[in-house]
Symmetry: C2
C-alpha cells in the first residue's frame, strides 16, 4: 500500500469504527470524517488537539505518547498536539495531515485491535464530547470574507440599490471580498452581545446611538489556510486547493442598520466586527473529497487567472435553526447547499493573492452568505424576511423579522455519503441584550 491508496482507504464508505456511535448513519462524526479541533476537559484543563469520532474525541497527544501515533518531521519530545491551537500541526504540511488521518482511521477501525482492546489507554485517549470543552481551533492571523453567492448578491442589491441592476458589473468578474476582523472570531457556544452603534432612522436628519434593531445572521462556511504564500508570490487557481487545510461553518453576525449607514464607501465595519462565530471542528478537504461536484457554469468566462479545470464545488447541506429563549423547540429557518456558490474556494484564494498579498497558516476565508435559488434557501434573515417585510412564522415563539435577545441561532452542515455522514457539528450562539 502506498500513501495514496492508504488515504483512499480512509474514505471507504464501508469502513466502520469500534466507537459504535461513529456508525450512526446520520451522525456527523463518522470514521470517514475525522475533523480536527482543540479541546480540554474536567480532568485535564490543558488545551490540546483532538479528533471527533462519534460522540467522543480522540486525544492525539495521548496516542502519541503511547507510541501509537507518529507525526513526520517533528523533533522528539516536542508534540504539536499539546497546543492551544492547530497552527503548529497544520504548519507541518499536507503530508503530515494525511499521515495522521491514515493512522487514526486505522486505529479507530473496527478491525484494528490496538486501541480497541486496550481499555486502559482507551480510558485516557477517548473523551466523551459531553465531558469536554471545545475551543477556537486555530489562531487566526487574518480573516477575509467573500461575497460569492450570486443569489445573495442579487437579493441584497435588489433591496439596497436597484432591483433592475442588482448585480454590480464587477461581481461577475471576480470573487469580491473584504478584510474581516480576526480578533472577534469566536467558537460556537460563545454568547454574542447585541452591538450598539449609529443608526440612521428615516424620519431623522441625524443618526442616533443605540442598540442594533436589525441583528442578523449570515450562513457561511469558511476555509482555513494550511500552507501560506510569501508576499509577492501569488497562488494559482490550479494550486489553490493544496493550500487549504479544511472547512468550518461560519456565522457572520451582521447589524443591518449599522451596516446600511456606515458601509459607503469603505465597506462593512462595526456592523460585523463585534463577533463572527465558527464551528469548533475543522473538516479536512481530504474528508470532503467524495462530495466534490461541479461548480455552477460561469458566464462570462473568468479571466485566465481565475480559470480551473475539473470540479471545485462541494455538496454540503446547510441549515439554520432559531430557538427563542423560552422555547423548547427550535425552528428551521433555512436550508440550502454550499454547492450553489458561484465562485469556488480555489478562485477566492487565487484572487486574494493575485496582487501579491501573502496568506498565513490559520488564515480564515469566509465564503460569503450562502443563499440558494428559492425563498426558503436564503442565508440571512434580511433575505428570508425581505428586510423585515415578510416576518417568519416560528414553530414556537411567534414571528421574527430579525433576531431578538435570547434567541439562539444554530448553523449545521453535513455531506451525506452512502450510510454515513461527514458533518461539521454545529455553529451556535445566543444573543445577549446590548450594553446599556
Amino acid at each position: 500500500m502506498n500513501a495514496s491508496s492508504d488515504l483512499q482507504a480512509t474514505l471507504d464508505p464501508s469502513r466502520k469504527s469500534w466507537v459504535e456511535s461513529a456508525n450512526n448513519p446520520t451522525g456527523d462524526f463518522s470514521i470517514q470524517n475525522l475533523p480536527f479541533g482543540i479541546f480540554s476537559d474536567g480532568l485535564n484543563a490543558t488545551r490540546r488537539v483532538g479528533v471527533a469520532i462519534g460522540d467522543s474525541i480522540v486525544d492525539l497527544a495521548a496516542l502519541e505518547s503511547a507510541g501509537l501515533l507518529s507525526v513526520p518531521s517533528t523533533g522528539a519530545g516536542d508534540s504539536v498536539f499539546v497546543r492551544d491551537a492547530l497552527n503548529d500541526f497544520i504548519a507541518l504540511g499536507r503530508d503530515a495531515w494525511r499521515s495522521v488521518r491514515v493512522q487514526l482511521s486505522r486505529l479507530l477501525s473496527r478491525d484494528d485491535a490496538t486501541l480497541r482492546d486496550d481499555a486502559e489507554l482507551r480510558g485516557r485517549a477517548l473523551i466523551r464530547q459531553a465531558d469536554a470543552q471545545l475551543h477556537l481551533p486555530v489562531q487566526i492571523p487574518g480573516y477575509t470574507d467573500f461575497y460569492s453567492s450570486k443569489e445573495h448578491a442579487t437579493n441584497v442589491g435588489s433591496m439596497f440599490r436597484d432591483p433592475k441592476n442588482a448585480l454590480l458589473p464587477n461581481w461577475s468578474e471576480m470573487p469580491i471580498g473584504y478584510n474581516g476582523r480576526a480578533s472577534s472570531v469566536v467558537v460556537s457556544g460563545t454568547p454574542v452581545r447585541r452591538p450598539n452603534g449609529q443608526l440612521k432612522l428615516p424620519d431623522q436628519e441625524r443618526p442616533v446611538f443605540g442598540a442594533c434593531r436589525k441583528l442578523d445572521i449570515e450562513l457561511e462556511t469558511g476555509f482555513v489556510i494550511g500552507a501560506g504564500n510569501a508576499l509577492g508570490e501569488p497562488v494559482t487557481c490550479a494550486d489553490a486547493e493544496a493550500h487549504i487545510f479544511g472547512m468550518v461553518l461560519l456565522n457572520d453576525w451582521s447589524a443591518r442598520d449599522i451596516q446600511q449607514w456606515e458601509y459607503v464607501p469603505l465597506g462593512p465595519f462595526n456592523a460585523k466586527t463585534f463577533a463572527t462565530t465558527i464551528s469548533p471542528w475543522i473538516v479536512t478537504l481530504d474528508a470532503l473529497e467524495p462530495f466534490r461536484v461541479a461548480q455552477p457554469a460561469q458566464d462570462p468566462q473568468p479571466l485566465a487567472y481565475l480559470r480551473h479545470d475539473g470540479e471545485h464545488a462541494f455538496d454540503i447541506t446547510l441549515e439554520v435553526t432559531l430557538r427563542p429563549q423560552q422555547a423548547k423547540e427550535a425552528s428551521t429557518i433555512t436550508r440550502t447547499n454550499f454547492k450553489h456558490m458561484y465562485w469556488t474556494m480555489a478562485q477566492q484564494l487565487a484572487h486574494h493573492t493575485v496582487s501579491g498579498c501573502n496568506t498565513r497558516v490559520g488564515d480564515l476565508m469566509g465564503s460569503g452568505t450562502i443563499s440558494g435559488p428559492t425563498e426558503d434557501s436564503f442565508g440571512s434573515l434580511l433575505e428570508l424576511t425581505w428586510n423585515g417585510k415578510k416576518p417568519l412564522e416560528l414553530r414556537e415563539g411567534g414571528t421574527r423579522s430579525f433576531i431578538e435577545d435570547g434567541d439562539e441561532l444554530t448553523l449545521a452542515g453535513w455531506c451525506q455519503g452512502e450510510g454515513y455522514r461527514v458533518g461539521f457539528g454545529v455553529c451556535a450562539g445566543e444573543i445577549l441584550p446590548a450594553l446599556k
Copy 2:
C-alpha cells in the same frame, strides 16, 4: 521625585545627552524622543528591543543584563527585550513603558556618568544605526485603516463621485474606517512589488488583467495599541489614549485603478493588500505630549460617545519625497501636518470598539490619508496630480502622474520642539516591476 515628575523631566527641552549626535537640533532622535524598535546587527543576529538615540541604538537587553535597567513585573531571568517584536514589552502596561523611559532618559543624559563613563558597556550597549538592521517593530494581530482627513475625503469624493456632494453624510458623524490586511504590513526599506490585478479600461466592456497603472502612496500615521479591550467592552473616548502605546509613519500603498473597479460595495481589497509600509520606530504618546494641540472644530457636534474634552491632536510635520531610480536628488512632493485630521485617534478607537469589537496589543490603526488644505499639502498622488490630470514636475527625473518602477517614496515626520525634535525617522519603499 515621584513617577509623574520623573516622567515630566524626560520632556525637559534643556536636557542633553552624552550621545552628542542626539543633540542635533534637527535630528529625529533626541533624548526627549526615545522611540522603541526591534533591531539586529552584524555581530548579533538576534532580534531585540532597541531605543533610538542620535545616530545610535541603545540595546535594552544589554543594559538590563548589566543591571542598569529594570522592568517592573517581569520574572527574573526572563527578558522582554530579547524578542523579535515589542508586544511582550508593550503588554506589561503603561507604568512599565514609563519606567523604562525614565531610566533611559537618566542613563543617556549628559549629567549621568553610569553608562557615559563605562566604555566597555557602552561598546556593547550602543550600536550605530548604520551598522544595524531594523525590523517590523510589532507583531500586528489586526490592522484597521481610517479615513479621517476631511480634505482627503472631499478630494476623493469630488473625483470619484460628485463634486457637489463630495463628502458623504456618514463621514461627518463617525470616523469611517475599514479592516486592513495585517499580513502584508512591512517595515521601511522593504521593496514593494507593483501589483497585478483587474483593470477596467473605459474603452472596453470587460476588465483586463495586468500591472497596476495608477500606483499611489497614502501618507498616513498609525497608532499601536498598548492595552487591548475585551470583546463586548468598549473603550470610551476619555480612556482611549491610555490604550495607545505610540505612533508610526504609515504608507498605505494603493493601486487606484484596481481600487476603482473592485471597491463597490465592500471597500478596497486587492488595491491595498499587497503592501503597507511602516516606520521602524514607535514614538510613544509620552514623547508626543508637548506637541498636543487642539483638533479642528467638529460640526455637527459628534454623538456623545465620540465627545472628549481637551486637546487630542498632535502637531506633527509630515513630508513625502520621491526619488526616481537613476536620480541623485529626491523631490519633495508634499508637506502637511497631522494636526489637520478631523477625527482624533481617541475618537477612532472609541468608534472602533463601541460595537463591542475587541482590540489587542500590537494592533495597528492607520489615520487615513493626511491631506492639508492646500494643493501642495495633499497626501496622495491621486490628489496632488488630480488623478493624473496635473502631473508633478520633479527636480530630477521628469514628471509623475503616478509612481513608476524604480521610484523610491519616503515619508518623514517630526515634531519641532525648542532646540530639539521628536522625529519618526523615515518610512521608505522602492517599487519593483510587476511580475510577468
